[in-house]
Amino acid sequence: MEVRFVTLQRNEKDFLNYLMGNFSKTELAIPVTSLNISTFDEKVTFEIIKKTEVKKPSTLRLILSVLRLRNLSVVLVPLLSVLSETSDLFLAMQIATAVSFLLLAANLRNDVQDHVRGFDRINTRSGSRVIQKGWATAYQLQTLSWVFLFLASILGLPILWNAPGSLSLVALSGLAVLLGLSSRESNLRFSLFSELTTFLLTGPLLVMAGAYAINKEFSLGLLFWSLSWGAWYTVVSQFRTLRQLMLMSEANLPHWMVKVGFDRSKLYLAILFVLVSILLPAGFVSFFTDDLYYKGALVFLMITIVRFGPKIFTELLKINSPLSSSIEKVNQGIQIEHSLISFILALYFISKIIL
């Protein structure tokens, strides 16, 4: 099988067509990865492959890979916690769906921007990797992103119309999600404020905005819960970042882990992990009413934290290299723990809404 490559400069007229995947009806242009940080910007080498040669997975696997539905937990759990305080099932579903669509749109846009900037050619762990595998083009992902944004607007606008007082809060949150996490020019993901952005958007801003949109009420308990969830997710996301520390250091990205170095990053992350493991159940207890389901959810939450937490903590401290396979294992462990916690909490909140 003959291998064909094409190298194009960014300022060449066909460059964007190749990059976005719509330069040909029968062929795909996959940018080749590079181990050299300095070469990723101006010129891109593409491997040209026939679309018929790409082995695509099943439709379900493709959808799951493209959308990365597991990431929805970051907004669904706090949102469901707020929605569990309303008896309006339709409103609850409407808000949850709108915000989910917004997050999907932002994630897809992120993947496209990483691809356009060339970041995914250097960081082979970024995004869903569906473009690199030839399963979808950047153009298709971009189109899908706009579709989800449109759907989010269709669902979200009536809600905002009925609760004008929260318009600025909710709109600000949504806009910040799109701009901060998926901006081409100033990608906050790797700025010193990236953690603060993640914390605010997944915790206090989302929960408080949602609570105000539904019943115009705030409470200290709700605030504490939102802070605990935001903190939990922010720390969980840092485990993924630890995998990329060497790359970020080579690229001199302004991330706190690059500033403090490998050894201290591990230590600080371990300490933060212990703190949020205590904070999360405390936040849950502070807000939610004492009913049977709540006790059940709390028990399962504690079991999950105790079952996974200590092992993650010790394995994290034992990691002895930024390229160690242990980082991946620890990351998988924390993702499993996070998924289980999200499932338990989501199940509890949904049962509160329904029953």
Partner: protein, 315 residues
């Protein structure tokens, strides 16, 4: 080797055992990197003085890393001879390596091309980072090929990148476009060389009779080992890693599986070779007519480095 890399007159005679150590070190070895320099020097019309400077620089850096490597790995043999740290002392081996790196800086700064000095310093830094990271991965048997490639890009490819970029820098050709292509081409050459070296450990194209399973016995999975064990049952992998001979390893993973993976490994590296040739095509667009003469010889390098045969021979 045509270029005389080591001359005792260049080193102080009052330091006991130093010249004897260097005599042992430089009398073995194929001097391949110096030959690469010679190849570029001819086509770029570098003066004999500059050619010697570049050849010495790269061989000094390479051999300094060998002195340190052998001590880190506690190897007793290098090129069929007793390693320096065993024959002399570990202290002398470390200092001898450091001294070679110091001489590199002295020689380059005397030459006066500050960009060459700066780039060489970066490469030495990359080499040491690669060594450090590699050492941190000993006994990590779940590492993947992508992670290893990052290590090899620092440890091995950095010197190949230097070999093909330094002659242009010495000629004061600092074109960014040229050097980015050379950097990518150098990375591919380095990866191919390293992967070929890793195959020798499994007696694949091992005409030089290198000792087998040396990396595995040192607690290190090389690139072919990682590829070979991919997808294998964890228990079987753990047993295979403890193999004391190649025959034992093959019987554990299965002879057919071993041969299949070797073939597939060659296929993925053929892909890298195709990418390398594509970069040579890009170079054709930006080199001068005279400089283009280097491309034919560069096109033969994958054959030499990966398949370990002269370009005129075919399998």
């Amino acid at each position: 080797m045509d270029i005389k890399i080591y001359d005792s007159k260049d080193f102080p005679s009052y330091l006991p055992k130093l010249n004897s150590l260097y005599d042992d070190l430089f009398s073995g070895g194929k001097g391949f990197r110096a030959k690469l320099i010679k190849m570029f020097a001819e086509n770029l019309e570098l003066s004999a003085k500059v050619e010697l400077l570049l050849a010495q620089t790269i061989e000094f850096i390479h051999n300094a890393s060998l002195l340190h490597d052998d001590l880190i790995d506690r190897s007793h043999l290098r090129r069929g001879k007793t390693t320096a740290w065993v024959k002399y002392t570990p202290e002398y081996a470390v200092l001898a390596g450091d001294y070679l790196l110091a001489r590199v800086m002295v020689n380059l700064s005397s030459h006066g091309n500050i960009k060459l000095v700066s780039y060489t310093a970066e490469v030495i830094s990359d080499l040491l980072e690669g060594e450090w990271i590699q050492d941190s991965l000993v006994r990590d048997f779940d590492i993947n090929l992508n992670q290893l490639d990052r290590v090899h890009n620092l440890k091995t490819a950095s010197l190949f990148k230097w070999c093909i970029r330094a002659p242009f820098i010495a000629k004061e050709n600092y074109s960014e476009e040229l050097h980015k292509i050379l950097e990518e081409a150098g990375t591919l050459l380095g990866m191919l060389f390293q992967r070929s070296d890793d195959l020798l450990d499994f007696d694949i194209r091992n005409d030089e009779g290198k000792a087998l399973l040396g990396d595995l016995k040192s607690g290190y999975l090389n690139s072919f080992a990682v590829f070979l064990f991919e997808g294998i049952d964890a228990k079987l992998k753990a047993e295979a890693i403890l193999s004391q001979s190649l025959g034992e390893l093959k019987s554990k993973v299965g002879e057919a599986h071993f041969e299949l993976r070797a073939k597939q490994f060659d296929e993925i590296n053929a892909h890298l070779i195709a990418r390398y040739h594509h970069h040579l095509e890009s170079l054709k667009m930006i080199l001068s007519e005279k400089e283009k003469g280097i491309l034919k010889r560069m096109s033969q390098l994958p054959e030499i480095l990966y398949f370990r045969r002269k370009p005129s021979e075919k399998a």
